[in-house]
């Protein structure tokens, strides 16, 4: 059985060879060592400095996210969670299975794992966008210059239809991380792990944006333009197919305010798209049209608004709001009086709520009232795609560490207690 090795070098390798490589690497660094921090910061600079990489905004966003200052903040956050009775140590080997078509996720996943001192095995899809190829090249170069322990920390490979390879690699890892659709997650979940290993899954999710109409209406044109652009970034960067990209926009306010705000907002989004000269492929337009028709037949859609790149379906009720979606710039739109009116319609599948016009206390209260039923993130519009260690309700830094419990001594047995003289 052969795999295509991508990091540390590009070459064909047998599965046995990969297994030998993985078993031979036992040395590792403690969580948040200066050495791993410097290495990651170096990679960030390499991305910033790379001529090819600078053409892709999502690569620059990634590099920004892993710049030195950010990593130091991450370290102090990690240290702040330290407990007196338990010490954090790396889990060991993390097997990452990133999605084939969000090209940067694997680096985020890898970064948090390597910072916490883990070794990494990443399975990439054979279908790779140029963005992924650039990252792989930069990783090879950076690792090539790094010290041995870091060099040995990361193996990236690709292989096709082979359950056996997945099985062998799964048995070796301590944590398996699956990013993908429900189908993929279920399928890979059926491949056993070592008895002690655990699994972190990121299945299909759905996301929404909420805007309070009243404060929106008080915005000046410049600010409206800005908000439209931020919304555009959230929705259109990955053809609206990223889990955290909004598919539903909910207006909070009176019917009149909501209507007025919506008219202004969608026009502003049209303008923003025209300015950017963004254009989706014709087939995406067709898919949106078909999906619109299906929705109109099946759901209480009261209005259909179609501009060149923005399709809006107004729902009279969110009761049967579907989580299936065409992507490509199609939005359901609905209105509620208060944020709390959303609670009954939100579901476990709902991940990110991007917002405008709410303060943190309201959002916290809303999260508490949901009590775990739905929603894993609430971030301002414009930050939907901003990755964080907190994702899908998990803290990845914690997921990638084990705790060694060393309670402070209590009770009577002090050294010397056994002394025969006593």
């Amino acid at each position: 059985m052969e795999v295509e090795l991508l990091v540390p070098q590009v070459r064909r390798a047998s599965l046995e060879e990969v297994v030998a490589l993985l078993s031979g690497q036992t040395e590792s660094l403690p969580p948040f060592s200066d050495r791993s921090l410097d290495f990651c910061a170096g990679l960030s600079q390499a991305i910033f400095g790379d001529h090819e990489a600078s053409r892709f905004p999502e690569l620059l966003a990634l590099a920004f996210w892993m710049r030195k200052a950010e990593l130091i903040t991450l370290r102090s956050q990690f240290q702040a969670t330290a407990q007196t009775e338990a010490i954090s140590v790396p889990c060991g080997l993390i097997f990452h299975i990133p999605p084939s078509n969000v090209d940067t996720i694997f680096v985020y996943s890898w970064l948090l794992a390597i910072l916490t001192g883990n070794r990494n095995l990443i399975r990439m899809s054979a279908r790779r966008a140029p963005q992924a190829e650039i990252l792989l090249r930069l990783l090879r170069e950076s690792l090539g210059r790094a010290e041995k322990v870091l060099q040995n920390s990361t193996i990236i490979l690709s292989y096709g239809h082979d359950a056996e390879i997945t099985r062998v690699l799964s048995m070796m890892c301590d944590v398996r991380v699956i990013w993908g659709g429900d189908h993929t997650v279920s399928l890979i979940r059926s491949v056993p792990l070592a008895v002690h290993a655990r699994e972190v899954t990121f299945p299909d999710r759905s996301s929404l944006a909420v805007i309070r109409a009243e404060p929106y209406l008080t915005l000046n044109p410049k600010a409206r333009e800005k908000l439209a652009e931020q919304f555009f970034n959230d929705a259109y960067w990955f053809d609206q197919m990223a889990c955290s990209s909004p598919r539903l926009l909910v207006w909070c306010g009176t019917p009149a305010d909501a209507q007025r705000a919506a008219d202004i907002f969608w026009a502003a989004l049209d303008n923003c798209i025209n300015k950017k000269q963004f254009a989706a492929a014709p087939a995406i337009h067709m898919r949106k049209l078909v999906f619109s028709c299906e929705s109109i037949v099946d759901l209480p859609v009261s209005n259909y608004r179609r501009s060149r790149e923005v399709t809006v379906l107004t729902l009279d009720s969110l009761k049967s709001y579907p989580r299936e979606h065409s992507g490509g710039g199609l939005f359901f739109s609905a209105r509620v009086d208060h944020l709390s009116d959303l609670a009954p319609v939100l579901a476990r599948k709902d991940q990110t709520l991007t917002y405008f016009g709410f303060d943190l206390n309201e959002l916290r209260e809303f999260a508490l009232s949901l009590n775990g039923k739905a929603v894993d993130r609430m971030v301002p519009i414009g930050q939907a795609l901003q990755f964080s260690r907190f994702w899908d309700g998990k803290d990845l830094l914690r997921e990638f560490c084990r705790l060694v419990h060393i309670p402070s001594p209590s009770g009577n047995l002090e050294p010397g207690s056994y002394s025969p003289e006593a």
Binding site: N101, T184, D239, A283, L289, I296, N303
Partner: protein, 358 residues
């Protein structure tokens, strides 16, 4: 002129302006008809085509995307009147379209097809060579568009002979005796474009068989031949050279509008029959495009009564070359189909790597 008069009039005989006036009126009436009888269609008309205010010209007729019929079986007749549900053959992994037919719609389809075919075949049934395997129609469980197409075409022939065996191999001895018996007078050959090329012509190449009295009708699309870099011209040229056949007619049609067949003229362009028409639209703005520009095809037809399929936006690219100015005596729009709208690869978190364990 009513639908029946349009059918009975010689096909391709109506100048475009005259035809559009007739069609617009009938299609407007059909739009009303379906919106009264099909709730889903009524919703679509009200929401998707909120600006609809009757049909003044052909481009006013509200359209539905053909892909909708894959997920939704819309019907304008009560369940009890549906006597057959047509299914598209569909490529693997794709959901087929499902089209409910009542007797009247099926009757219209049959008459319409025969009016079109009579235009090139004449009124008599001809001996018929089917470039197909007999097993296709023996297996009645799969009554799909391919079977329906074959059965529909069989009406125009007699002394049917299947040129392919159960394994899709050419029965050369059988074809030879068919030609010995019928080859001295006009006979009909029918098959699907790719099969006709791959399993018939290429196998026939060394046989020196004289098929020059044959009239070849084929359909099914050029996609597979385009992959082999075989153009429509090459197709004709090779057939002429290897078999002597010069009467070759391709047609364009779809399961969502069975009977509405766009048959090639002698000039190689496709022509809408009297009761149907095409419009080319910009795939992004959906605005009607002028002559000579490539866009997606909208197909209009007076045939569908049992389902709201009288105006459909296809996913096929096409171009209208000329109107009322053909060199083969046909009035109306002369157009070509240029293949499928290219599929877009979408990004996102969810499509992945099921293959890892599959």
């Amino acid at each position: 002129m009513t639908f029946d008069e349009l059918l009975q009039a010689p096909q391709y005989s109506l100048p475009q302006r005259e035809k559009e006036v007739l069609l617009a009126e009938e299609l407007g009436a059909l739009t009303e008809y379906h919106s009264r009888r099909c709730d889903g269609y009524a919703r679509l008309l009200r929401v998707l085509h909120a600006g609809y205010n009757g049909v003044k010209s052909l481009s006013d007729v509200p359209y539905l995307p053909v892909g909708l019929f894959k997920s939704h079986m819309l019907q304008s007749v009560p369940e009890s009147e549906v006597f057959k549900v047509l299914q598209s053959s569909g490529t693997t992994g794709q959901q087929p379209s499902r089209i409910p037919l009542d007797r009247e719609t099926a009757r219209r389809q049959t008459i319409a097809l025969s009016r079109i075919m009579m235009h090139i075949l004449g009124p008599r049934r001809l001996p018929m060579l089917l470039v197909e395997s007999p097993s296709l129609i023996q297996d009645r469980r799969q009554f799909n568009a391919r079977v329906a197409g074959l059965l529909g075409m069989m009406n125009f022939g007699r002394n049917h002979f299947y040129a392919l065996d159960g394994n899709m191999q050419l029965d050369i001895a059988g074809v030879r005796s068919f030609v010995d018996r019928f080859g001295h007078e006009p006979f009909l050959i029918f098959g699907f474009t790719f099969v006709v090329w791959q399993n018939f012509l290429l196998r026939l190449a060394e046989q020196k068989l004289d098929l020059s009295n044959g009239i070849l009708i084929h359909t099914g699309g050029w996609k597979k031949l385009q992959e082999q870099a075989v153009s429509a011209e090459e197709f004709r040229r090779r057939f002429q050279r290897e078999t002597g056949i010069s009467k070759i007619y391709n047609f364009y049609g779809m399961v969502e509008q069975v009977g509405s067949v766009y048959l090639e003229g002698e000039d190689g362009y496709l022509y809408p029959p009297n009761f149907a028409d095409v419009i080319v639209r910009d795939p992004v703005t959906l605005e009607e495009l002028p002559l000579g520009q490539v866009g997606i095809l909208q197909v209009l037809s007076l045939l569908p009564l049992s389902y709201p399929g009288h105006s459909l936006l296809t996913e096929d690219l096409g171009i209208i070359h000329a109107i009322d100015s053909s060199s083969c005596g046909r009035y109306g729009k002369a157009f070509s189909v240029l293949g499928r709208l290219p599929q877009a690869e979408m990004r996102g978190c969810s499509d992945v790597i099921a293959s890892m364990v599959a």
